[in-house]
Symmetry: C2
Subunit: 217 residues, 2 copies
C-alpha cells in the first residue's frame, strides 16, 4: 500500500526527473515539497524499500518502473479531477489545484476510469498539461493557449477548454477541429481578437473563443 505522503513524493520525483535523466537531489525534493532534507532522506528510504525508487546514498533518487507508474496514476487522477472541476463544477482554472491535490489520492481504480469516460477521455487538463492514460503514457507535449503563441508561429489544435455544445458547434461552423494545423497571424491589441490561418482559409476569432483553444507546438 502506498500512503498519501509517499504518493506526494513519487509525484514530485516524477516531475523533477522529467527534465534530464540524472537522479533527483534530496534538496530539490525538499524545496518542492516544502519540507526538510532529513525528512526527504527518510522517505526516500521507504520508497526504495518498497521498490518504488532507486536510491544510492549521497547520489539522489530516480523512480523504478513501478514507481513511475504509481506517480503517473496520481498525476492522471489530479488532471482528470481538474477537468471535472472546471467543466462541470464551475471552478476556474486557477482554483482547481488545491482541491485536486486532495482528490488525486482517492484510491478506487473504477472511479478514475469511470471519471475518464464521463469526461469523454480528455487529453489535456485546464492548464494544457497532458493527461496520462491507464498505463502512464501520454503525449509529452504541453499544449498552450493560442493567445500566448507568438505571431507567425503555428501549432496543432490539441485541446479545447470549453467542451460545451455551443462552443463545439461554433468550431464546426468555422471548420476547426482537433488535429488541425493553425497559424497565428496577428493579435489585435484593442480587443485581443486573433486572426489565424488554417489549411483551408483565414479567419478572425474573438478573445473569448481564443481562450478556449490550446495548441501544441
Amino acid at each position: 500500500m502506498v500512503t498519501l505522503s509517499e504518493e506526494n513524493y513519487l509525484k514530485t520525483i516524477y516531475h523533477l526527473g522529467k527534465q534530464g535523466t540524472i537522479a533527483v537531489s534530496t534538496n530539490a525534493i525538499a524545496d518542492k515539497i516544502e519540507t526538510k532534507a532529513s525528512s526527504v532522506t527518510d522517505m526516500i528510504k521507504k520508497l526504495a524499500d518498497k521498490n518504488l525508487a532507486n536510491y544510492i546514498k549521497y547520489q539522489g533518487v530516480s523512480l523504478t518502473n513501478k514507481g513511475r507508474l504509481a506517480a503517473a496514476l496520481v498525476i492522471r487522477k489530479h488532471r482528470l479531477w481538474e477537468v471535472f472541476l472546471v467543466n462541470n463544477l464551475n471552478f476556474s482554472w486557477d482554483e482547481v489545484h488545491e482541491v485536486a491535490e486532495e482528490l488525486e489520492h482517492i484510491k478506487s481504480l473504477k472511479l478514475v476510469d469511470e471519471l475518464d469516460a464521463f469526461l469523454e477521455f480528455p487529453t489535456h487538463d485546464p492548464h494544457g498539461d497532458p493527461i496520462p492514460d491507464k498505463d502512464g503514457n501520454y503525449s509529452p507535449i504541453k499544449s498552450i493557449n493560442i493567445l500566448e503563441i507568438e505571431e507567425g508561429k503555428e501549432g496543432v489544435l490539441s485541446f479545447v477548454k470549453d467542451s460545451s455544445d455551443v462552443f463545439l458547434k461554433y468550431l464546426n461552423k468555422n471548420n476547426l477541429a482537433l488535429g488541425d494545423s493553425i497559424k497565428v497571424l496577428n493579435v489585435e491589441p484593442f480587443d485581443r481578437s486573433l486572426s489565424i490561418e488554417t489549411k483551408s482559409k483565414k479567419l478572425i476569432i474573438s478573445r473569448e473563443a481564443a481562450e478556449n483553444l490550446y495548441l501544441s507546438l
Copy 2:
C-alpha cells in the same frame, strides 16, 4: 482543523446518538469504528478539547452544536458523492460506500455546494437516506424502496433513483410526481410488478420502475 480520524468519530457519534437522547458509550463507538475502547477514550478527549463533544468520564459522549454541524457536513458530502457515483459514474448502489468513505473527507466547501448544484440538489442518496443541507438540516425520514413496503400501506414519493430523461417522462406520462401519496395495493409474485393507487387513479408498474421509486412513510 478537524483531522480525518476525528471526522470519522464525529460521524459515528452522530449516527449512534440519533436514536435516543442519551450519551453514546465508549464501547458502542469502538464496535462501530472497529477499534479498541482505549483508543476511543483518547479521541473523545481530543474532540472535547476542540469543543466538538461533551464528555464526562465514565458517562459517554454527546456532540456539541459545533460537533453536530461538522458531522452533518461529513454525512452531506458522503451522500452527495454517492449520488454522483451512481447517477454519473455507473456505480451500483452497493459499490459506492467504500469510495464515498474517502471522498467525504475532501475539504473544499465550494466543491460540496457545486456538486450539490450539479446533481440538482438531491434530497436522498441511492440507499434512500436523506441528505443534510448546508446547515445540517434534513427531513429525518429515510425513504424506502416501494418494493419493500407492505401491501395496503401508503407513503409519499420522496425520491427517484433514476433521474434520467426517459424515466422522468415515464413518471409524467403516468401522472406521478414527488410529493404524491401512493398506496401499495398488491405485489404480483410472478414478475414483482406492483399495483398502486394514487389520489387520482390505480395503475400497475413494472419491477424496473418500482426499483426507482422511494417513499417515506
